[in-house]
Assembly symmetry: D3
Homo-oligomer: 136 residues x 6
């Protein structure tokens, strides 16, 4: 079993905001991330797939195909988007935290992978913060 | 003459949008950066100051003081902000491109520096794009 | 289960030196790291916590609180310190290798974490060397 | 159990090419990587060893010795080489993909490690692609 | 005057080899870089353009257009290539050193830039070596 | 004229401390950097040399020779050292700030360069702070 990882990148706006809460409660819970006018990030997404290299090609999965699937399933929908408003697979009212995004990206990508087996979603929000999800 | 550089970071949302233009014209000029619902970035700001090291302390400027001035003049106003809506020193209608931000940051910081002489503002929008401004 | 990682940084001096050994034995075992006058490093510390995201906030743990706990438990004690002399939780005579520091940092941090479960301490001494500890 | 990782680097040329296939089949499978005149990469190799720190030295393994073993077993043979032509431990006709190289590096290094236990080979081909192997 | 920099990347094989010299002379001058079977690198290319931001768009040059011009002039010709054999604008017999490539890339790109003025070509061969050219 | 840059790295301990001052004055001026027991850093040193590429070799200077000269002039003396105590070319009582070190490294290296002309010393103390010196 070998693990192959592909990085893709996207830029997006978001805010953390619970609509049932008062402004004070949101500020208390989320600090500057609760700015009503949004803020944003450059996200680094690392997708890891596991499998056995094909004896002829040496590939678990053609990394160019993997890149295309990640783009179709995730990047094309989130790049230059507002994560609270624009993305069909992020449920309304769910906070677009790094943790939640990692889970949602897994669920979005996993059914579309035809070769290899999804092992890990790693999402970096800043150089100091990242989340990882390995499936249910 | 020695040059001392301090990096600070901030996260912000923005869009590129000329209000006098139609949607098509904005899309034509700015592509995905014209998304009405905003997108965002992790910005890396490098401030370079030049001067002669103090013969006793060996400092051009105490880098902790430099960090405080950069934060007061720039970071506290732009971090977790919307660059089109929230920042008092960005004129309404001016596009918050990397180029324009580098100029505005210079003008914001230069009058507040008490030691050393401002030499360069370098602003990185992504790992692939940055702008530099050396004054007028 | 989602894994959330926070990076913190510190700078410190240390040396590797077994006081029961002769100078030659220390030089033999530790090379340049046995310089009696110390040397030092910029350390990168990555702390990984695992848990289930809160259904309302989307947080395993508020990453700002995690940062505060790491600072209180570890960074405030080791930053700009001498790891052989200044740190109360490093036993006298224990070598401050990357391996030992990773274990000590785990033991220092684990009892103070109120949310999430400590999963990993990763400590980078240089761009070429790091140690990881996952608990006993 | 603590995990210690050492990075080494090498530069090499390679191509992906199945000699039993036509030019069109190779181009179809490998795209630009099938250029007959070769292309190349800067590779980053991360070797992770696990063990218990020695109670006196604090070392799982002396990282300088680990570096020497990695160089003898792998780097001296692949650095500034052609991975398809020059390396005795890469079987003729086996594609030098990141996946295959990770497995071959494990087999090359594992018997030579006298201290610690090999845990992981991680090989980065570009900033966007890496493979990991944890043994059979 | 503002300076805007765009990074592009490519992978290539090359060797340093003076055909008029003996094997010993080549080995003496170029060491491992003289391997007859080639070696290779991941190159990072930074192109800096200077100009005055357009008062409406805030652009010196649309960075997407800049990226396209760099790709047409340089990247499409050198990516996944052999720099000694495959590239029409590298004269036969000229060593593909980082220094020479920086000059050749300038001459290749400069006539094609329609907006802004080319200021600098920076080419990184490894994390430890880069060359810069600012024109004649 | 082409500019060639080589990176070398070293690790060292230091403190900022004016012996004529009281403890309070030192703490006031230097903060945590005045810890009597020292602290330390991983330093990144970038040396830039300018010249015209040799028409046959394509080299301004053989980068391996440049590396050797940098090591002899600087790295061998400062690596794993105490910058306040161990380095013959750092005058006693001169603060080993990044600014002062950049000047001293220039003076140390410049007379030993036989090919090319020294253009810049860039010294990074942390990922957030660096100094540059271009000569007198």
């Amino acid at each position: 079993m070998v693990y192959l990882t592909r990085r893709e990148r996207f830029n997006a706006a978001h805010k953390l905001w619970v609509s049932e809460w008062s402004d004070e409660e949101n500020l208390q819970a989320f600090g500057k991330c609760a700015n009503k006018n949004w803020h944003g990030h450059n996200y680094d997404l690392f997708v890891t797939v596991k499998g056995t290299p094909d004896p002829v090609t040496g590939f678990i999965i053609d990394v160019k195909k993997l890149s295309r699937v990640i783009r179709q399933a995730i990047i094309d929908k989130v790049d230059h988007s507002n994560l609270n408003l624009d993305v069909d697979f992020i449920p309304e009212g769910m906070q677009p935290t790094t943790e939640n995004l990692a889970i949602l990206f897994w669920r979005q990508l996993e059914p579309l992978l035809e070769q290899g087996q999804l092992h890990r979603i790693k999402l970096c929000e800043t150089e100091n913060i990242y989340a990882e999800y390995f499936g249910d």
